[in-house]
Subunit: 530 residues, 2 copies
């Protein structure tokens, strides 16, 4: 073992895994690629670590700790790895509270991502692991101007499917027109010069597609009612919707109009793993397969004098496992029901932090009618009804069959659908979906739905913090409770994203390694060697 | 031969290929997929057709005419098919006026599309042919908020690479703030109710990312200077640029700020053919290979009493070919120099319609630094200098090497670069490019540039109409000149797009077939049978 000083280590770990590196990268002081190679000094003192949960956080922790020389055991309650990083395909099984176990029946080659389905291009660590693990990626087409807005039973555009491009360009046109008019009237008190003002007018005219009179009348940007073509076909465009009609159908409501596409995480470019997002989980699993015990449901976690003791049950019975340290990635709503001797602060935080309710349904269709009939390739239709969103698949374009996500909803709507039987969820998805796509009637084949807050071993979508829980509960879980460290998306500001799992795992690995390599100075207990 | 009446044929051809079908599809009266199967009655009277040019228009005409029973011969001046649908890869050769012939030296597997590189999702006929010909497609990532704006030597943000997301969100924020302020002051005279007004304010706040005081201060939408992460890392955002700085650097100028992304053709979803856009040309070529004579440069086209006579020269000498009909897809600047006996109206139109000047350079780099260092995956950086645009590749993400398009420019800038030697074009692309990407210095390997207006057998990018040429020249080429029909993107309202070639070819095929099948009524001449 090469001896390193505390200063050596700190400067190294701060650089590679500590709080300084994102800042330094942003400032251009570091090349990010070398930084993502997690090159801590291999020097584990032979320590044993039990990792609870083989989701992305748990497997990444095992993968990185193992490379540093730790002896890892990963306990996974399910008979598969990946946790929420999960693609549903033929023969996938699933268990929800108050529901019979179900098995998916889809055509071979078709799948949908029941959990995360999108990788933001700025989640560099997720892309780093895709690259390092050899997982090919492809564009997830999150922004699609051809997808619809659909306001059921609301206003003048009620039950009419209107294209994103129509609403986006009409609204942009009207807003720019209003602002141009206001500027012309000299109604704006601002410190800009006359020349600046003229440039803004020019911008407004271009941005809004205004005519020479600075009016929004019509625009090819919103699409054609007769496409331009060969010969005498210049194309024909329709009149825009009126601003009042759009407003009164709620299509400019903040929770409907998709400003979501402006958010940092949902801006194009977005990616997905080729063949299903679980390719990432499977690639990680491959790296650490011998360390994983499947079907091992944790029943207790206790700090003991010289380490940590975990009990779990599997098909063979009850088992006890002891190690120096533990990384617990179990989702908090599940952890809340496991026996522990955690501090009262930690226990309270586990009970107190909320997870959201969310669900998806995959609908297999005989024919990709959304592409063939409606020219929608990927992207999202937004509705004001229970469906909330329909996701069109971003793979196998122009192919014969496809699975679309018939709803992806949250909170009350997800709660309501989660209460239904699988058959009734399907019924509702079809009933509401055919208002938008009447082809559902003829082309539907099979469904498979997942309600995350009812899913065994999850009991929630992802951690949703209030300013109260972020201030008063979250900090308790950032420190180890004795020899138990907590990791997962819930211990980050990247909630709901796979990047949270990766970032959190790395952070905990760095903290553990810091403690272990400084053992002669600061580490209080020494456990048995393996 | 099954006899059909004029009425039978007209109703059929109008439905399938005539001017009514886009309207009918738009109205939802027809399913588009069956419509795209071009099912005219097979009934060619054994007619022979010479097709000039094996670009997309010529090959599509040959493919469709052949299926209807015509005997087609395609004359292609080059030793390759595809015309402008052309991907440059290792060993690609190229000839420009006043330049030596050049051969591309790229690594195997790398390519760039020197001609069309994007398929709009609403160009249904292009996607139809991809599907029918079995050409796999993938997303072309045209919209990327991570790409840069770069204003060389202009204003306070001069020579600073600013992300699209920064400018887009800052400008949106300031504009929405101005409009909200104006509405608060009651400065807008419009017929909206107070409730509508309140809803607009709510929209403006969401759209602009305004704070509770309706001010645009800062927004995570424009990115972080310290990314959110695990533990105590909520992320840190920077102050926005001032509106004055953005304005005065020209970043809101209509020809710079990318409102282009709003246009119907450039909205997401966009596609490209996997492995290079020339996959489409190669798939068409495969269908009609025996009909093509390569290296056959047309020297004259003459209407004769009983058909058309074409002379061409190839390596073996001068040849003469006669047929009943001809489809001429030769670009007008080239056709202008070929001997013909066309009418004066047609000749004038050929001489009079302008083509644009445009060029691209492909730059091969050792390392995908734009992805690894700068997190740019596909999309376009816009500049105010000679480069105009840098296109990042939308394939092989996370791979080792890549080719980016170092400039894609038009008109005066393309003219200026076209005058340079290949070496000097490379020099300029690198000199200007390294202002944005200093990695050019270390990572550059090889280049290959194409100046379309100097390219033999093209002599222009695509037809660019003025209202004058559209009204006074264009119509002359929509009718056949005797037995010669004209086809290509230049004979559509889809100039510059592959869809123009396909639409035009189909239109001409329908017109020819109409004339031939009605021969007993209206066709004036009968030629020899083959």
């Amino acid at each position: 073992m090469k001896s390193i000083t505390r200063r050596d280590f700190l400067s190294k770990s701060t650089l590679l895994a500590g709080s300084a590196y994102p800042a330094m990268m942003a400032l251009g002081l570091m090349k990010p690629v070398p930084a993502y190679a997690f090159e801590l000094e291999k020097n584990a003192n032979g320590k044993k670590v039990i990792i609870l949960g083989a989701g992305l956080a748990g497997m990444t922790a095992a993968y990185e700790l193992n490379r540093l020389g730790y002896q890892c055991t990963v306990l996974e309650a399910r008979d598969r790895t990946g946790g929420r990083c999960w693609s549903v395909r033929n023969n996938t099984t699933h268990t929800e509270k108050d529901q019979p176990q179900v098995t998916a029946k889809f055509d071979e080659g078709l799948y949908f991502n029941a959990g995360p389905s999108r990788i933001p291009h700025n989640h560099e660590l997720t892309l780093h692991y895709c690259k390092e693990l050899g997982v090919p990626i492809q564009v997830y087409n999150n922004v699609n101007e051809s997808a619809y807005f659909f306001a059921e039973g609301k206003g003048p555009l009620s039950n009419k499917k209107v294209r994103n491009r129509e609403i986006h360009n009409d609204v942009r046109g009207y807003m720019m027109e209003m602002l141009a008019k206001s500027m012309d009237h000299g109604n704006l008190d601002n410190p800009l010069t006359k020349e600046d003002g003229q440039k803004i007018i020019e911008y407004l005219m271009a941005e809004g597609g205004l005519d020479a009179d600075k009016l929004y009348k019509a625009s090819a940007r919103r699409g054609y009612i007769e496409s331009p073509g060969a010969g005498n076909k210049p194309g024909r465009i329709a009149d825009p919707y009126t601003l009042a009609d759009i407003l009164r159908s709620g299509l400019m409501d903040p929770d409907f109009y998709n400003v979501a596409e402006y958010t940092y995480e949902l801006q194009m470019t977005m990616f997905q793993a080729v063949g299903g997002m679980d390719s990432i989980a499977r690639a990680l699993e491959k790296k650490i397969a011998p360390m994983i015990r499947m079907g091992a449901e944790v029943t207790s976690i206790h700090n003991v004098t010289d380490g940590v003791k975990v009990t779990y049950k599997d098909a063979a019975g009850i088992h006890e496992l002891q190690a120096d340290l533990c990384v617990c990635t179990i989702p908090l709503p599940v952890l809340s029901n496991i026996s522990t001797n955690f501090s009262s602060d930690v226990s309270r935080a586990i009970d107190y932090i909320s997870y959201n309710q969310t669900g998806k349904i995959g609908l297999q269709f005989k024919r990709r009618f959304w592409e063939e009939d409606e020219h929608i390739y990927g992207g999202i239709t937004h509705t004001n009804n229970e469906l909330t969103q329909i996701f069109y698949p971003s793979y196998d374009y122009l192919d014969k069959k496809g699975i679309l996500i018939g709803y992806y909803n949250f909170n009350e709507k997800a709660q309501q659908l989660g209460e239904l039987s699988y058959a009734d969820r399907e019924k509702l998805a079809l009933q509401k979906g055919r208002l938008i796509h009447p082809q559902y009637d003829k082309e539907f084949e099979r469904s498979f739905s997942v309600s995350w807050h009812k899913t065994k071993y999850n009991m929630g979508g992802w951690a949703v913090y209030t300013s109260d829980t972020r201030s008063n509960a979250y900090p308790a879980l950032l420190k180890p409770d004795g020899n138990v460290y907590f990791a997962g998306e819930h211990l980050t500001y990247l909630n709901a994203w796979m990047a949270g799992a990766f970032e959190s795992a790395r952070s905990v690995v760095a903290n553990i390694h810091s403690r272990v390599t400084e053992a002669r100075i600061a580490y209080p207990t020494q456990s048995t060697k393996g």
